[in-house]
Symmetry: C2
Subunit: 161 residues, 2 copies
Amino acid sequence: MDMEARGHSEHPEALRLWLRMLTLTQLVEKQVRSQLREQFGTTLPRFDLMAQLERKPKGLKMNELSRRMMVTGGNVTGITDQLVTEGLVERIEVEGDRRAYRVRLTPQGRKQFGDMARQHEEWIVAAFDGLSPAEVEALHQLLGKVKQHFNDTPLETEPTP
Amino acid sequence: MDMEARGHSEHPEALRLWLRMLTLTQLVEKQVRSQLREQFGTTLPRFDLMAQLERKPKGLKMNELSRRMMVTGGNVTGITDQLVTEGLVERIEVEGDRRAYRVRLTPQGRKQFGDMARQHEEWIVAAFDGLSPAEVEALHQLLGKVKQHFNDTPLETEPTP
DNA sequence: TATTGTTATACTCTATAACTATA
DNA sequence: TATAGTTATAGAGTATAACAATA
């Protein structure tokens, strides 16, 4: 049962996989960031926020944005403030709860995001150009499996006895 | 030939794949960062630097570290300074070139990194626990294909006519 | 009391560019 | 001149915690 116990390094495959995935993600992300900055003068979190809003014509509340972007609330406020200043998004009152807002794209924001999204998609398509459609699908599915299992496993700090 | 041309969104599969990969990487990375901080009082770049040195008993030069970590030189200096202060790495003179150093783990650094690496591997193994060994292998291979193609494609700002 | 969102703050990480010293 | 590494600086990105207004 334990004949391969060697202190550690018993599952190096998962580790190699993770390092490769991390490296690749950083490569692509780095390119996307620099292109967003050069071509559109924006940043990834700003692009991400607008992307969250694109398919929600009614907008999203701040806490929903925060959850989807996996970032704490204060940061969403800051990014939203910038985009409001530039006229790309707007805060709408929520009826029935005067504490909350909905954030949504302005027409200008929607237009500008369209331009960016088109370019962004080209960069991503190019990045995965080495794979056949079937391989893209397989990769998508495998990652989905990992993600689901990850989310279902709350994170065990203590071994459950 | 162009009957599906619709302005954009012609290759949403690659985009969906990328978003899933990015989300998953961020999830795992966020957990690793917070665990490294809580359990060892360190950060991912510091861990990364030590990991680069672990299998190089003779150490690595600053510019080699910079390249492997995909970070510019100034940052490597800063991280190395911290680790030197804590006695975890040391700068060794390179004979024949008085401009350069080799950075290598001290015995203490090697020991401490061993502890961290063992834990780190457990976190990663747990993160990919939802996959069978064959699936881990398949994922590894697919990502390798993407990475190689990405590296072989210099990045075309202009369409090549 | 709890929740929504904002403000204030601090720290990590990063790139850029000017600099020193060797080569 | 070119290279190895450092220094200085600015900005992105983030978390934390205290706060105000409303529920």
